[in-house]
């Protein structure tokens, strides 16, 4: 669906995107994370054939960027950072223009379908200037979907929305995902990315890492379990340390933080040893890190690498 090879973009010598190699599969929700100025919007513009790469090449829906830009644009839908609607026109007039530019066959049918789906049908004849931010964003999403593109670029879809509007938009993105569309989601909202994305890519000019949130978690932190005991004695500590599969152990008060490769198989043995050594096990949990932790770890590592 998206294949980028060593994609690079410079503006007047300033590096905006560096050496980006990326594959996004059909039906996947790919979240693109990074701080402001990291190159997220530039990447979307490159992949939507709005700007040309300085180096490298990319294919979107089988069409090569730079060679077949009209077909690239025809085959994608894009929600830009700002909705960019014509505020004096009403919702129908806004969408009609785009339906015609995308050569939609059943203009009125598609308009009605998406205006109803996004709850804007009753307000369709009102000037868009009077809409709330959430309504404008929904209308911009409808505009991106009118021609039923297989791939959708969403650049900060919930930024600047109040929590209720953000939730409505996020739920709708979830519905688009369920419908099997491929979504390339640029976001600052890590919670949103965690909920929606199959894979995430962290970018800061160059792509730092790409994987599913679970795999990123595993590769960064391994898997850790927390065992809460009534009290921790020397025999208990020794019993745990003697186990060959225990990679690391740390004690905080009456809790043991233990790194394991395969908790599903190793936890029963671990608990049995602790109990045999006289430990009273109260709780066993797997320690999880949020995507936010993962993101900041990756960005900090990248910053340190850049400095060194």
């Amino acid at each position: 669906m998206i294949k980028a090879e060593r994609l690079t973009k410079r503006f007047d010598g300033n590096l905006a995107v560096h050496d980006l190699t990326l594959n996004v599969e059909r039906g996947e929700v790919f979240a693109f994370l990074g701080p402001n100025g990291a190159g997220k919007t530039t990447t979307v513009r490159l992949l939507a054939a709005l700007i040309a790469p300085t180096e490298g090449q990319a294919w979107v829906n089988g069409y090569q960027i730079g060679q077949d830009n009209i077909n690239v644009r025809r085959s994608v839908g894009i929600l830009t950072e700002a909705p960019g609607l014509y505020e004096r026109l009403n919702a129908v007039q806004n969408l009609t223009l785009y339906a015609k530019l995308y050569e939609v066959d059943d203009v009125s049918g598609q308009l009605e379908k998406y205006l109803r789906l996004l709850g804007l049908w009753e307000r369709r004849d009102e000037p868009v200037g009077g809409f709330s931010k959430g309504m404008k964003q929904k209308l911009a999403i409808a505009r991106a979907l009118l021609h039923e593109p297989p791939l959708l670029f969403l650049d900060e879809p919930t930024a600047a929305l109040d929590p209720e509007a953000a939730r409505t938009v996020r739920d709708f993105i979830g519905e688009i995902k369920e419908a099997g569309r491929t979504i390339f989601l640029c976001t600052h909202n890590l919670d949103e990315a965690e909920r929606l994305a199959d894979r995430v890519g962290v970018i800061k000019q160059r792509l730092i890492q790409v994987d599913s949130p679970a795999n990123l978690h595993r590769s960064l932190y391994g898997r850790r379990v927390v065992i809460q005991l009534a009290n921790i004695t020397d025999p208990v500590r020794a019993a745990v340390n003697d186990l060959p599969f225990v990679k690391e152990m740390e004690q905080v008060d009456n809790a043991l933080f233990i790194s394991l490769d395969n908790p599903e198989e190793q936890n029963p043995i671990l608990v049995e040893r602790i109990v045999t050594a006289g430990g009273a096990v109260q709780f066993v949990n797997e320690l999880s890190h949020s995507l936010e932790d993962i993101y900041f770890t990756l960005i900090e590592e990248e910053d340190q690498e850049s400095l060194s």
Binding site: L50, I51, R73, G84, L89, Q93, L97, K100, E103
Partner: protein
């Protein structure tokens, strides 16, 4: 070139302009004033005796071109005056649409609607032709309408020879053929400016380059040095068409989507 896409752009621009009453009032104001000025001048000269006498000294008569020598002096002077006003009618479609054309691109950037528009499968040719037509069509229609009102007014208040001179082929051909071509010239140049600058007023100033030769020609006609013929107007139309094509070509070539998207703040 997809005509449906061009039509969609034109329809959107019309719908947008209809909601902007200031644009409609501004566009209607100049032709209305010009019609009132032409008819008012003729009415004043024909009905206020002292005005007619004051204008009829020997110096005035000496500038009357040979083609008008058979006319009454007052009629000949009115025909020459009207001929000069006709040049101003040709300037209307050059002045009216340029700001609209320039703003239709710069305004899109300001309201951030340009990026989703450029993300559609529309070619630069289709986009610029659509925008240019949307600015040109109302200006040309307004010019034609004001010309019709002028002819009706002229029929009612002007002597027959002066009225017949107003509707002679040189002006009818000029209005029908030359005014749309001059309007397009002005609009395309406005589009070029708007793709390089952020201020639509800059586009208006550039149009001055094309307005100056027409004003100069009108002064030559008023001085009685030239009496316009249909062939001169047709030649001017052919030149205007050629210049239109060249300016449109450069407008498209200079419209750099990437620069407009990334450099304009």
């Amino acid at each position: 070139m997809n005509r449906a896409k061009i039509r969609a752009i034109v329809q959107k621009e019309f719908a947008d302009a209809r909601k902007n009453k200031m644009i409609i009032i501004t566009m209607a104001l100049i032709p209305t004033l010009l019609v009132a000025m032409v008819l008012g001048t003729a009415f004043f000269m024909l009905n206020v005796e002292s005005a007619g006498e004051a204008s009829m000294d020997q110096d005035d008569l000496s500038i009357i071109p040979p083609q008008l020598q058979g006319q009454e002096p007052m009629h000949a002077v009115l025909i020459m005056l009207n001929d000069q006003y006709m040049f101003y009618f040709l300037l209307i479609p050059m002045m009216l649409p340029v700001y609209i054309a320039a703003y239709s691109i710069i305004g899109e950037k300001e309201t951030k609607s340009l990026e989703p528009l450029l993300a559609t499968p529309i070619s630069t040719w289709e986009l610029l032709i659509g925008k240019s037509l949307a600015a040109t069509i109302p200006a040309v229609i307004l010019t034609w309408l004001s010309f019709i009102v002028l002819i009706i007014g002229g029929y009612l208040i002007m002597p027959e020879p002066v009225f017949l001179a107003m509707i002679r082929p040189v002006w009818v051909v000029g209005m029908l053929l030359l005014s749309p071509l001059l309007a397009l010239l002005s609009v395309f140049s406005g589009v070029i400016v708007s793709s390089r600058m952020n201020d639509p007023r800059a586009a208006q100033q550039v149009t001055g380059i094309f307005v100056i030769p027409i004003i100069a020609l009108s002064l030559v006609v008023l001085a009685g040095k030239i009496f316009l013929s249909v062939w001169m107007v047709l030649l001017a139309a052919i030149i205007a068409l050629a210049v239109d094509c060249v300016v449109l070509y450069f407008a498209v070539k200079l419209f750099k989507r990437e620069t407009i998207l990334t450099n304009w703040k």
